[in-house]
C-alpha cells in the first residue's frame, strides 16, 4: 500500500515539542500561584529581615537583625524546645501504629474504637488545648485520676513548672496526632495483600516476624509520610495549643520557633526579626521535608 504525500506539509513543531509546550501551558497557572504565594513571600521575608519594620513602614538597616538575633538567648531556647519536642515524634507514630494494628485485627468494637481514635482530628486544636489545659491543671482531671487510684498525696501541676510544661505540651501534641496517624496506618494496612501474610504464616513466621518482615516494610511509605506530617505539624502547627495552654511559658519553657515569631512580630512589633525567625523555621522545616523526600525517593 502506498500513501500519497503530495501536498503534505512538514509540521512546524514535532509532536513531542507540541506536547511539551502544552504541558508547560497547563502548568503555568500552578507555577504562577506557587511563585505568588510562596516565592514572593519568602523573598519579602528575606528583604524585611534586613529592615526595621513595624508593619507599616520599613527602614533598611542591613544585616544587624541577623547578628543580633543569633545573640538572643530566646531564639536558642525556642530552637532547643523544638528539638526537645522532637522526642514526641516516636510516640506520635508508635502509638497510632499500635492502635492501627489492633483495629486492623478487627477486635470487638473496632468500628467504635476507630471513631473514638479519629475524633481528636475532627476537633479544633484550640478546643483540644483547652481540654489539655484543664487536664493538666492543678485541680484538673490528671490529679483527680491520680487521687482516684489512691495516690492522694501526689499533686501535679505540669503546666505550672518550666521543667514539666514542655512535656505536657508534647503529650498533648501526641494526643492530637493520634487520629490522623492511626487513619493513615489503617489505610496502609488495608492495602496490604493478605496473601503475603498468609504466605509468611506458611513460611513459618509468627506474629512478630510477620509484623517485622511483612507489615512494617509494607507500611514504610505510610510511616515516612506520617513522620513528615508529624514533624511539620510539630514545627508549624503547635501555635494554638501553646497559645491556649501556656502562652509560651512559664518563662520561655514552651516557646517554640513558631510561637517566638508571633511574640516577636505581634507582641513586640518587631516584624523584621520575626521575618528572620520565620526564615529559620522555614529552612528547618524544608530540611526535614527534603531529607524525607530523599529517603522516600531512594527506595524507588
Amino acid at each position: 500500500m502506498t500513501v500519497s504525500t503530495v501536498g503534505a506539509r512538514a509540521p512546524r513543531l514535532t509532536l513531542r515539542r507540541r506536547r511539551q509546550l502544552a504541558g508547560a501551558l497547563f502548568a503555568l497557572p500552578a507555577v504562577a500561584l506557587v511563585i505568588g504565594l510562596i516565592a514572593v513571600p519568602i523573598g519579602q521575608a528575606i528583604y524585611y529581615s534586613f529592615t526595621q519594620w513595624n508593619g507599616l513602614t520599613s527602614t533598611w538597616i542591613g544585616p544587624s537583625t541577623w547578628t543580633q538575633a543569633f545573640h538572643n538567648p530566646n531564639l536558642w531556647t525556642a530552637l532547643e524546645n523544638n528539638a526537645w519536642l522532637l522526642l514526641a515524634v516516636p510516640f506520635a507514630l508508635g502509638l497510632p501504629l499500635l492502635i492501627a494494628m489492633l483495629l486492623h485485627q478487627r477486635v470487638i468494637g473496632w468500628k467504635i474504637f476507630r471513631s473514638i481514635y479519629f475524633l481528636p482530628t475532627a476537633i479544633s486544636w484550640v478546643v483540644l488545648g483547652l481540654v489539655a489545659e484543664r487536664f493538666f491543671a492543678f485541680q484538673g482531671t490528671l490529679n483527680s485520676l491520680i487521687h482516684f487510684f489512691g495516690l492522694s498525696h501526689v499533686n501535679t501541676n505540669m503546666l505550672g513548672y518550666e521543667s514539666t510544661a514542655l512535656s505536657a505540651l508534647g503529650i498533648t501534641f501526641v494526643f492530637t496526632m493520634i487520629g490522623t496517624n492511626t487513619m493513615l496506618f489503617l489505610t496502609g494496612l488495608a492495602t496490604l495483600d493478605t496473601s503475603l501474610e498468609e504466605a509468611a504464616r506458611i513460611d513459618g513466621a509468627g506474629r512478630w516476624r510477620i509484623f517485622r518482615h511483612i507489615t512494617l516494610p509494607h507500611l514504610s511509605r505510610f510511616i515516612q509520610l506520617a513522620f513528615v506530617m508529624t514533624v511539620i505539624a510539630l514545627f508549624s502547627a503547635l501555635f494554638s495549643l501553646i497559645f491556649v495552654m501556656t502562652g509560651g511559658g512559664p518563662g520561655y519553657a514552651t516557646t517554640t520557633m513558631e510561637f517566638l515569631i508571633y511574640q516577636t512580630g505581634f507582641a513586640q512589633g518587631d516584624f523584621g526579626t520575626a521575618a528572620l525567625y520565620g526564615l529559620i523555621l522555614f529552612v528547618l522545616t524544608a530540611i526535614v521535608g527534603i531529607v524525607q523526600l530523599r529517603l522516600i525517593g531512594s527506595d524507588e
Binding site: S195, L196, A199, G204, G206, H218
Partner: protein
Amino acid sequence: MAEITFSGVTKVFPGDVTAVDNLNLHVADGEFMVLVGPSGCGKTTALRMLAGLEEISSGTLSIGGRVVNHVLPKDRDVAMVFQNYALYPHMTVAQNMGFALKIRGESKAEVDRKVREAATILRLGEYLDRRPRALSGGQRQRVAMGRAIVRSPQAFLMDEPLSNLDAQLRVEMRVEIARIQRLLGVATVYVTHDQIEAMTMGDRVAVMRGGQLQQVAPPQVLYDHPANEFVAGFMGSPPMNLVRARISPSEGRVGLVVGDQRLDVPAAYGASHDLPREEGAEVVLGVRPEDIDVVGGDVTGPTLKTRVERREALGAEILVHLSVADAGTARSVAYDEDVAVARPTMLVARMAPQARVEVGDVLTVRLNEERLHFFDSTRGVTLRRECA
C-alpha cells in the same frame, strides 16, 4: 514427604454456607493430585484448609499420618504457591526464596546453598538480586515455585498458580511444574479451574462441584468413564454431547429414540449398563465430539440425520455444530446449568480440517458405537455397572 488424607472434611462459613461438604480424598506420597471444578466448587477452600489458613468445621485432615486439624500453618511443613504468587515485594528473589529457611534458623551459608540449588532448577540464577517488580509474570511464578521447593516440604499446595500467565507461558509452566514435581517427588495438591491443566498435569484428578467431590481418577479414566453428567461435561473441550433419549424396543440391539429418530446401539450396552428396560424410559446419551463421523449412504451402526448450524475452524480441526433433524428437547450441555431447556438437540462434532462441511448441509453422522455413555436422566450418574 508424606501422604495427605481428607476424611469427611467439611467447611461451613458463617451464614451457613457449606463450601466443602464431607470431602474424602487420599493423596499418596509423591502423587500429583489436581483439584478441579468451576468457581465456588470448594477446591480452594479445601486447599486452604490443608494449608491451615481456614479452620475445619468437621472431619479429619491428616498429613503424613498426623492429624493437623488444629496445627498452625507454620507447623504443618507444607509449602504453598499462591495464585498471585504473594512474593514479598521488598525482598529480593533470593530473600524471598530463603525467607522460610531463615525463619527456621538455618545458617546463612546453608540458606544460600539451597536458594542457589533451587534457582538452578528453576533457571532463576541471574535474577537472584532482583526485586519481584523487576521480573516478568513467568519469572515471578518461578520464584513462587522456588520459595516452595527450597523448603523441601512434606507437600506442595498450589492455588491456580498459572491463571495469571498468558496462554503460551501457561503451557510452558505447565510442563515445568510437572517436571519439577516429578523431580522432587513431593505430594502435591494443585487447584485449578482449567480442565486442560487438570488433564495434562495430574496423576489423578479430583473433580469438585458445589463443595462435593464428584469423581477422583487418573485423567484418562475421567475422560473415558465419567461418573456423572457433570464430570462428562466438565472434562474435555468442547465437552461431551449429552442428549436425551428414550428407550425403544429393538431386535438384538438396544433401541433408542433421539428427537424422533431411531438410534440402535450394540446390545452389549444392555449388559454393561443399568439401562431402564421399560419402553419410553428416558436416559441421557453422551458422546464425545471426536466420536461423531460424517458418513454417506447406507451404513451400519448408530446414525443420525443432522443439519450443520455452525462451523468453527480452529486450524488443526473444525468444530461442527449439528442440529438433529426434527428433534425434540435436549438437556443443556453447559456444565453449570441443570435446567433442561427446550431447543433442538445439538451435537458438536470434531472433524479434520479437510472435511467439506458447510453451514446448511444435511449430514448423516455416525456415533462411535464403542464409545457411548449413558447417564441416569434424573440423577445424572453414569449407568455403567462398575462405576455406578
